[in-house]
C-alpha cells in the first residue's frame, strides 16, 4: 500500500515535470495557479492546522512577498528567482515582528489581530508611494517566463508538502499538535510553546512570501487591493479545511479539488459564483469540519500521519 502510494506519487511528479513539453499556454497557467493554491493551503496548515492558532490574515505574507519581489525586480533589477526567495524572507520577517507579540493572544483575539495586520499592510503599501507605486500599483518589466515560474511554483508546492510531512512525523510536529489540543498541558509538560509556535509561524509565512513573489513576476503587475484580499485567506483556509486540516495531504487534496471545481463549474455561474462559494464554506463548516481525510481517518484505519 505504502509502496504503491510512493510509486504513484513519483509517477505524478514526473508527469508534472514533463507536462510543459506538450502543454498549451492555458494549461501551464492553470497548473501554475493550482500549485499556488496547494502551496498556500499547505502553508496555512503549518500554523493553523497544527497549532490551532487561526491565521485569519495569512494573505498579508503573500502580499508582502509580492511587493518585496516586485520592488527588487522592478527597481533594483534583480532576477526573479532570488527576488522571490527574498519575498519569502520578507514574509518571514513580518511573521517574526508580528508573531512574537501576537502569538501570545488566545483564540479569537489572534484571528482578529491577524486580520488587522493584513489591513495595516495594505494601507502601508498604499501609503509609501515612492517605494511601491501606491494605489496605482507596480509594473514589472515584461518577461515571458511562464514555464520556469511553473517549475518554481511547483517546487514550492512540493517543498511545503514535504515540509509538512517532515514536521507532522517529527517530535516538533507532536509538540505543535500538543499545543493545539491543550496549550496549558503542553506548557506543563515542559514544551517551550512560545518558541515552537513562532517556528511554525515563520515557516508558514515564508511560503506565501515566495509564492506571492512568483505570482507578482508571473502577473507582471501588482496593486494593493489585488494582493491583500481577505478572500484569498478564506480560500486557502477552506481548501485546507475541505481536505482535512492538520494532515499532510489534506490541504493539497482540498486545494486541487476546490480549484478544479472552481475552474470547471464556477466559471459558468458568472453572477452567482460567490453565493456558491459561500454555500460551500457553510457546508464544509457545518457538515464536514474534519475534512475529507479526517472523515476517512475516522472510518478506516489510516495512519495518523496521512
Amino acid at each position: 500500500m505504502k509502496r504503491a502510494f510512493i510509486a504513484a506519487l513519483g509517477v505524478l511528479l514526473v508527469a508534472l515535470a514533463l507536462y510543459p513539453i506538450t502543454a498549451t499556454g492555458y494549461g501551464i497557467r492553470f497548473m501554475l495557479q493550482l500549485f499556488m493554491w496547494v502551496a498556500l493551503a499547505q502553508s496555512w496548515n503549518l500554523i493553523s492546522g497544527l497549532t490551532g492558532y487561526v491565521s485569519f490574515g495569512h494573505v498579508a505574507f503573500f502580499g508582502t512577498g509580492a511587493y518585496a519581489t516586485g520592488i527588487l525586480v522592478a527597481t533594483h533589477g534583480w532576477h526573479w528567482m532570488p527576488a522571490s526567495l527574498m519575498g519569502g524572507v520578507a514574509g518571514a520577517i513580518l511573521a517574526l515582528i508580528i508573531g512574537y507579540p501576537c502569538l501570545r493572544l488566545k483564540g479569537p483575539y489572534f484571528a482578529i489581530s491577524m486580520l488587522g495586520l493584513n489591513e495595516v499592510m495594505r494601507v502601508l503599501v498604499s501609503y509609501f508611494e515612492g517605494l511601491t507605486g501606491g494605489g496605482s500599483g507596480l509594473s514589472l518589466p515584461a518577461l515571458h517566463a511562464s514555464v520556469p515560474i511553473y517549475y518554481a511554483t511547483g517546487l514550492a508546492a512540493v517543498a511545503v508538502t514535504a515540509t509538512a510531512f517532515l514536521i507532522i512525523t517529527s517530535r516538533f510536529g507532536l509538540r505543535l499538535m500538543t499545543i493545539r489540543e491543550d496549550e496549558v498541558a503542553a506548557e506543563a509538560m515542559g514544551i517551550d510553546t512560545a518558541r515552537y509556535k513562532l517556528y511554525a509561524f515563520l515557516l508558514s509565512a515564508f511560503v506565501p512570501g515566495v509564492v506571492g513573489g512568483l505570482q507578482a513576476r508571473d502577473q507582471g503587475y501588482i496593486e494593493p487591493m489585488a494582493v491583500f484580499p481577505l478572500l484569498t485567506t478564506i480560500t486557502m483556509i477552506v481548501m485546507a479545511l475541505f481536505g482535512g486540516k492538520g494532515t499532510v495531504w489534506g490541504p493539497a487534496l482540498g486545494a486541487v479539488t476546490l480549484f478544479v471545481f472552481q475552474e470547471l463549474v464556477w466559471a459558468r455561474f458568472l453572477y452567482l459564483h460567490q453565493v456558491l462559494f459561500g454555500a460551500i464554506i457553510i457546508v464544509v463548516v457545518l457538515l464536514m469540519p474534519r475534512g475529507i481525510l479526517g472523515i476517512l481517518q475516522q472510518r478506516y484505519q489510516l495512519p495518523r500521519t496521512i
Binding site: 501576537c102 483575539y109 482578529i112 495586520l117 459561500g278 454555500a279 457553510i282
Partner: protein
C-alpha cells in the same frame, strides 16, 4: 507639517469624531452582544448593516417617505433575519473552535453580498434626503450626521435600558456571564441566543439605515463596519457592553484626530495599530472587563 491647526479645526474634528463614534458604538454593541453571549465573532455583522441600508434606500426610493421612518421596517426585518441565521446555522458552531464561526459567518456574508449584487447591481446609490449643515459659530454640523447621532444615542440608551431592567435583558447578561449558571437558574439559553442574534442584527440594521442617509451605499460596504466593530469591542473589552460604548466613541475620535495630522489612508492604519497594541497590552480592553 506646514499646516496650521486652529482650535476651531480641533473642535470640528472632536465633534465629527463623537458623531461618528455614536454610530460605531451602536453597531458594535450588536457585535459585542453576539460575542458576549455565544463567543461567536460574527463576520456577517457589517453585511446585515448593508442590508439595513438597502432597506432604507428602497423605502425612500419606492415610497418616498422620510427615510428615518424606515428604521421601523429595517430593524424588525433584520431582527428576523438574525433569528433565522442563528436558528438555521450559527447555533451549530456556538461551542466549536473560533475557526468554525469565523468561516461560517464569512460564508453567510459573502453569499448575502453576492445576492445583493445580483439583485440590486453593484452601483453606488444614495438617499438624497438631508443635505447641508447647521452652522454653529465656527463649526459646521452636518444635518444628517447630527440626526443619526441622535438616533444612535437614543437606540443605544434604549438597548442599555433593556439589558439592565427587563427580564429578558437580565437573562441575556446572565448568559454572557456564565451560560451554565444561567441555565441552572432556568434561563432558556437557546432562546437567549436567538434573541441576542436578533437584537444584534436589528442594531446593525439601524446603523445601516442611518448610514444610508449620510453616505452612498453599495453591496460591499459592510466589511468596513465589521472591522470597525471588531476594533470597538477590542478597545472596549470583549463582552463588556458599556466598554463597547466608550470604544466606539474612542474609535470615532482617533479616526478623526489622526486624519487631521495624517492622510485618511494612514489614519485607517492607526486604528489597526491601536487594535494590536490594545490586544497585547490590555487584552481585556481599555476599560477593564473580564478576560477570556
Amino acid at each position: 507639517m506646514g499646516v496650521i491647526i486652529t482650535p476651531a479645526m480641533v473642535g470640528q474634528v472632536v465633534i465629527s469624531g463623537l458623531l461618528a463614534g455614536a454610530l460605531y458604538s451602536m453597531v458594535a454593541l450588536g457585535l459585542a452582544l453576539i460575542f458576549g453571549v455565544m463567543r461567536v465573532i460574527n463576520v456577517a455583522h457589517g453585511t446585515i448593516l448593508m442590508l439595513g441600508a438597502y432597506t432604507t434606500f428602497w423605502w425612500f426610493q419606492l415610497l418616498g417617505i422620510n427615510p428615518y421612518l424606515s428604521l421601523l421596517l429595517s430593524m424588525p426585518l433584520m431582527f428576523l433575519l438574525g433569528v433565522f441565521l442563528q436558528r438555521s446555522m450559527v447555533h451549530r458552531v456556538v461551542d466549536a473552535p473560533e475557526l468554525s464561526s469565523l468561516l461560517l459567518t464569512f460564508g453567510i456574508s459573502i453569499a448575502l453580498v453576492n445576492v445583493t449584487q445580483y439583485a440590486f447591481s453593484s452601483d453606488v446609490r444614495s438617499v438624497e434626503f438631508l443635505t447641508g449643515s447647521f452652522l454653529v459659530g465656527p463649526l459646521a454640523l452636518s444635518k444628517s450626521r447630527l440626526i443619526s447621532f441622535a438616533f444612535a444615542v437614543g437606540l443605544t440608551l434604549f438597548a442599555f435600558w433593556f439589558l439592565q431592567k427587563t427580564k429578558l435583558g437580565k437573562a441575556i447578561r446572565a448568559t454572557s456571564q456564565s451560560r451554565e449558571v444561567a441555565m441552572v437558574c432556568g434561563v432558556n439559553v437557546q432562546r437567549i441566543h436567538l434573541y441576542a442574534f436578533g437584537m444584534a442584527s436589528a442594531l446593525a440594521a439601524a446603523g445601516g439605515s442611518l448610514v444610508a442617509v449620510i453616505v452612498a451605499i453599495q453591496p460591499e460596504m459592510g466589511q468596513v463596519y465589521t472591522f470597525k466593530s471588531f476594533l470597538v469591542i477590542v478597545l472596549g473589552g470583549a463582552g463588556n457592553y458599556p466598554g463597547a460604548l466608550l470604544g466606539g466613541m474612542l474609535l470615532g475620535l482617533v479616526e478623526q484626530l489622526s486624519s487631521l495630522f495624517l492622510t485618511t489612508q494612514v489614519s485607517e492604519a492607526v486604528a489597526y495599530v491601536l487594535l494590536v497594541l490594545v490586544l497585547l497590552l490590555r487584552p481585556t480592553g481599555l476599560f477593564g472587563g473580564r478576560s477570556t
